[in-house]
Symmetry: C2
Subunit: 130 residues, 2 copies
């Protein structure tokens, strides 16, 4: 495969941007209307659900989450504060490194995520196919 030309690059970038913008916008709107969640909030909940092993509530560090949702450390800190205020997650001191903060889902958080998954998937299906 030869190197793409500049116009090809620009076209690819615009397409990528357009898809991302449209999808993110739709996702944000639907999740907000139907479940009171922003897109990034949902992503964080989802990571926590995925990180859960067995019954033990997921406990991830703030920093681990930051990279996977493409947010700065400070933005994530506040996002988690919002989720905590809403009763969806809990922050607790990390036992082995007391600088760290473990974030874990509450039952309410798990429920909210479960409720929102169908919305999330259906928006993706609609925007990402075709």
């Amino acid at each position: 495969m030869s190197a793409p030309t500049d116009p090809e690059l620009v076209e690819a970038w615009r397409t990528l941007l357009a898809r991302q913008a449209a999808t993110a916008c739709a996702l944000d709107r639907e999740l907000n209307e139907r479940h009171g969640l922003g897109m990034s909030e949902f992503e964080v909940l989802e990571r926590l659900v995925e990180g859960t092993s067995g019954d033990c509530a997921a406990s991830l560090r703030v920093q681990e989450l930051a990279t996977s949702v493409h947010l700065s450390q400070s933005a994530l800190s506040r996002l988690i504060a919002r989720l905590e205020k809403a009763g969806l997650v809990e922050r607790s001191m990390c036992p082995e490194d007391r600088r760290g903060v473990s974030v874990c889902l509450t039952p309410a958080g798990r429920d909210r995520h479960t409720d929102a998954v169908p919305t999330h998937r259906s928006v993706l299906a609609e925007m990402l196919t075709g």
Copy 2:
């Protein structure tokens, strides 16, 4: 082609999001450091350059620009105000519809865009190939 499964959709979305975030972030940083432009600012300048026919400075309406940069009308209005303050574009009243505002490049705006193009393309080449 069969309908994608949910995990496929989610994976596709995450990939899209990751590429977009990484590229946008790199683009913003480089353009800002080297040319004092944000990503969207550059996009607007680029649309104006593209819209130019012959010598006649491009004059696009605010609304036309908004859709192509995935910004709300209000955000774009302010973005143009910033560009105008920086001397890169000029707003003038649209003669045939006096509600409308024609945005046109100044020579300085054209130069700034020309300077920034190599940076833009090289970031795209780096982030979007592979």
